[in-house]
Structure formats: structure tokens, C-alpha cells
Amino acid sequence: MSLPCGIRNFSYHTDIAIIRTKTQWVLFILFMLALSVLPFYLPRSWFDTVNSIGILLIAVVGLNILMGYCGQLSLGHAGFMAIGAFTSALLTGNLHVPFLLALIISGLSAGLIGLIFGIPSLRVKGFYLAIATIAAQFIIIWILQNWTDITHGSNGLDVIPASILSWQFDTEIKQFYLIFTITIISVLFATNLARSRIGRAFIAIRDNDLAAEVMGINVFRYKLLAFFLGCFLAGIAGSLYAQYRGHISYEDFTFQQSILYIGMLIIGGLGSSLGPILGTVIIETLQKSLTNTIAPWLEHTMTFMPTGFSSGLNLMLFGLAIILILIFEPRGLAHLWALFKSSYRMWPFSY
């Protein structure tokens, strides 16, 4: 099913390749070319959207490792992202650590905090774990809010834009290349991770953790690893977010954000490498166009409603989308895409 008709494996080398056919290579190269020249024909007002898609995608890919592959729910992903953001802001701002090093360290620190809140996953799962991660979110944000000596509370921190050696990423176009290089690396990393021994262990744990343990998988170690990797990517995303926005405060990382990431992942499709990409791109584009163009238009035309009603529209439609996807296509848009692909390959003889 996953291969076009007439493609055979003649060596292990071709069997494990991600890109198999000439068409796929052509499409892949075209896509990369399109992505790399995107900044030159993109209208200026869309830069913000595209760059935040790139940043969010890293966080959602991390969440996908944790939730989609390993089946551990995390409702505190925005909190872990906040840790990455603040670590990186403090390192580059106060200690003048070079950006790349700060990026790695902020990923590691978010990962370590994630490990701490992942420890309960040894004994509890499902709802209990969800509540534990909600607690993580609120505790992290509370600390960032009240440790005012370092985080400056609601005033927030100013962050200098990233620079690597003498390269300054001070314009939106340069930011675009920086963000998307890291995004592509993390997407590739996650895709390959899912095909490795670790990824298969994650999937076994997701499907039945008792059976996985009986089969000799060290469940606790792999669960913690999943928490570490998921939160590591969240930390990286947070660090990029901080240097891109130029100013962060604890208010940027609300619980609603955490649910937003989960929603993106569910709408895109859990446990597939395409899912996070689809979910993030579609939801973020829709949300931006909703808040920037449709909401003001609605406010303008529907004057009989009380002012400010459109602020709820975003949340409402997003919640509705999650509900509808879960009812009608629990495997997400990625599954719809796979169905379309296979029916296209079979066409016109659908059996």
C-alpha cells in the first residue's frame, strides 16, 4: 500500500530509504526548491505566519514523539517550551553564550524538566498523567511569573536576535532560513527516530505497555526517553521563539497554547511524520487568516452582535475542528492523505 505499483526491494539499502521513486525525488527536490525561494515571493505580511509555523512545527513534532508514538499525553508542552525560551534568553542575554550553544542547552534543560514530570508515567497513565502534566504547566508558568529577579515577571525579557559566528539573523528572511533549517532537521530526526529501534519500542509501549514490558522492552526507560526527546524539541522551539519574537514573558506560554499543540497534532494525525506538518500548517494558516482578516470583517458587518465577539470565534472553530476530526477521522488528515494516495495509485481499478 505504501509503495506505488511495480516497485520492488532488491537490497536493504533501497528498502530503508525514505524517498523511493524518481517521482518522489523530483517532487522532493521541487518542494525543497520552492521552500528555499519562498521568502522572495511571499508577501511581507505572511512572513510572521510562516516563521511561526516553522517554530511551532518543531514543538508539535516533539509532541508527536511523546504522544503520537509513545502514547504519553502531555498537556504542558507550552510550559516546556517556556523553559527553553527563558533558558536561551538568559544565556544569550546575561551570559553572552553563542546562540547555537544556547539552543542546545535550552533544549537540554527543557528535556530535563520534562524528565522530572515524566517520572509519574512509570506508575500512572492516561488521565492521571494528563493531570500531572497540567500541573507541570501551571507550576512552570507560576515559577516564571514569580521568580521576578530573573524572569522580570510580566514585564518579560528582551532577547537579542540569533547570531552564528558573524552572521546576524536580524531580518525576517534570514530568520526564515534559520528557523526552517532547524525545523527540517527536527522533522527528519523524528521521522528516522520512528523507524529505528527506539521508535518501534515507543510504538509497542503505546499499543500495550504491559505486553511491551513482557517482550523485554524497558518501559520506564523508553517512556522517560520519549519525555526527554519531546521536551527537548519543545525547548528548541522555545529558544527559537524567544530570539524570533525579541521579547518574551510567561504570558506567551499559556495552557491554551498547550491544548493548541495537541489539537494541531490530532487534526494532522497522531503517530505519523506527515501529521504534525499538515496540522501545524493548516491550523496556523487558518488561525492567522481568521484573526487578521475574517474576524475584523465579521465585526464590521455583523454590528448587531456585541463588540469583541469574534475573539471567541477562533477558539470555537478550533475546538469544533478537534471534535469533528476525532469523531469522523480519528487518524487525522495524514490518514486522509494516505487514503487519497492509495486510491490515486490504484485508479481506475480500485481493487
Binding site: F127, I139, I259, M316, G319, L326
Partner: protein
């Protein structure tokens, strides 16, 4: 000394309100094993509805309350029928995620209909505070506590003796066996959501007549998860015992370390309980088999 007594009574009374909201959670968990994360949002939307009835349309209190409860019944029925029923038998991840979607949806709906973001219900209870020994107690808090206690007793009696209550407990125990005994499982689920929404509505009106209607109600919902976790998920008794404990910890922590710490205490309790005794004080420990 007077501060101590005042803290104790305030703590117990606020805890009882948390317990009331947590009861709504336990109701659904007990019958259908669905974890309802939209707890705070249910409270929020029914408080706003009461606000519309009492303040915007200026209905008398009793009529407004009846309409609010009717709204809660409708809401509960709709949620179960449209969102939860199609997901029966799905993995727990989907069940949790759909209540998250529901939470988002309800929150958007309230912002859509009531965009002012802040509202005050007319005061239901007498405002005068009275003295127990040397301590000054706000009367409305005590009223809220008493109403929570009455609801708790009513629900316990219902679950113990009424046909529907027994069917609900049986459904929680073994869905298939109950179905074989001709219990309408769908109706059990739908009843449990209706009850949960009524409890949330009553809790909402109680809290928001004491304080105000705003986004803080959602956070109250999150805080009452600590009651659920500490008391054990399927236990009404757990809710009613754990609620005051959380309330006491909050008020004492607040008076010891300052009011900002107060917000944090329920979440710290969650983490501690999950690390040490994940099934709570009165919850059943589940043994899993392959």
C-alpha cells in the same frame, strides 16, 4: 487564634465548592470512565447563562435558576449525544482529547456570546458576616458549603438506592455484563453528563455569586482536579473529604507564604499525590492484565 479559626472555616468552605465541582467529574468518571477536562468551562458557560437570565433579562431568581438548570440539562444531553457517544470504545487518548476540544469550544462560545469577559451575578445570599467566637465568617461561604454538602448527600443516596444510580454504578463496573442485563447504557451515559452539567451549573452560580464571572472559573476547574486526584477518581466520599483538605491547604499556605503561592498549592498537591499514592485516598487501585 481568631485568624486560625477564620482560616479553618474559610478553607473548609472554599474546599466544599471545589468538592462540588469535583463531584461533577466523579459522576462522569464513575459511569463512563471518561475524564472530563472541560470541567471549568462547563462551570463558566453555565454561570454566564445564569448571568444572562438574571442580569440581562432580569428574571426573578427562582425562574433564572430553573432556566439555568434546564440549560445545563440540555447542554449535558447535547454534549453526550453529539460528542461523546460516537467515541464509545475509542482509546483513552481520544476520550481525553475530545473533552479538550470541548473545553476549547465552550470557551470560545462564551467569548462569542458574552465578550465582555467579566460579569457580576446579583448576590444570592445575605452579605452580613457573623462571628464564631472571635472569628469573622462570611455568611455566603457557609451557604455554599451547606449547599455542596446537601448535593453530595442527595447524589450519594441517588447512587446507592435509585434504579438509575445502581445502573450507573453497574455500568462503571462492567459495561458488557450490564448491557446483557438490559440496562440502557446509552441512557446511563447521557444521564451522567446531564447530572454533571447540573452540578457544574449549581457550583458555577454559587462561586460566581460570591466572586465574579471571569476566566478565573476555568482555573477553579483545574484546581478541582486536585480534589479528584487526592480523593480518588471514583469516590464521592473522596471528593467531599479531599475538597476541604485542599481548601485548608490553600488558605493556610496563602496566609503563610503570601497569596501568590495560594494559586500553586493545588498543583503541588497533584504532583505529590501522583508520585506517592496515585489512586488517591479512596480510589480503587486497578490491576491490569494483558
Amino acid at each position: 487564634m481568631d485568624i486560625l479559626i477564620q482560616n479553618i472555616i474559610t478553607g473548609i468552605a472554599t474546599g466544599m465548592v471545589y468538592a462540588l465541582i469535583a463531584l461533577g467529574f466523579a459522576l462522569i468518571w464513575k459511569s463512563s470512565r471518561v475524564a472530563n477536562l472541560a470541567l471549568g468551562q462547563l462551570v463558566l458557560i453555565s454561570s454566564w447563562f445564569a448571568y444572562s437570565m438574571l442580569v440581562q433579562f432580569k428574571f426573578p431568581f427562582w425562574l433564572g435558576m430553573i432556566l439555568t438548570i434546564a440549560f445545563a440539562i440540555l447542554l449535558g444531553w447535547l454534549i453526550e449525544r453529539l460528542a461523546l457517544r460516537p467515541l464509545i470504545g475509542q482509546p483513552i487518548l481520544s476520550l481525553i482529547a475530545i473533552t479538550l476540544g470541548l473545553a476549547y469550544f465552550l470557551e470560545g462560545l462564551t467569548a462569542f456570546i458574552w465578550p465582555q469577559g467579566q460579569g457580576n451575578l446579583p448576590k444570592v445570599f445575605p452579605q452580613t458576616s457573623f462571628q464564631i467566637g472571635p472569628a469573622m465568617i462570611q455568611q455566603e461561604l457557609l451557604w455554599a458549603a451547606v449547599i455542596s454538602l446537601i448535593l453530595f448527600i442527595l447524589l450519594s443516596v441517588f447512587f446507592q438506592y435509585h434504579r438509575m444510580g445502581i445502573a450507573m454504578r453497574a455500568t462503571a463496573d462492567d459495561q458488557l455484563a450490564v448491557q446483557a442485563c438490559a440496562v440502557p447504557v446509552n441512557r446511563v451515559f447521557s444521564m451522567s453528563w446531564i447530572f454533571a452539567c447540573i452540578v457544574a451549573a449549581i457550583g458555577g452560580v454559587l462561586i460566581s455569586s460570591i466572586a465574579a464571572i471571569n476566566y478565573g472559573l476555568v482555573e477553579t476547574g483545574f484546581k478541582s482536579f486536585s480534589v479528584v486526584i487526592l480523593g480518588g477518581m471514583e469516590s464521592f466520599l473522596g471528593c467531599i473529604v479531599a475538597g476541604p483538605i485542599i481548601g485548608l491547604c490553600e488558605t493556610f499556605g496563602g496566609s503563610q507564604f503570601g497569596s501568590s503561592v495560594k494559586e500553586l498549592i493545588p498543583f503541588i498537591i497533584i504532583v505529590i499525590v501522583i508520585m506517592i499514592k496515585p489512586f488517591g485516598l479512596f480510589g480503587e487501585e486497578r490491576i491490569e492484565r494483558i
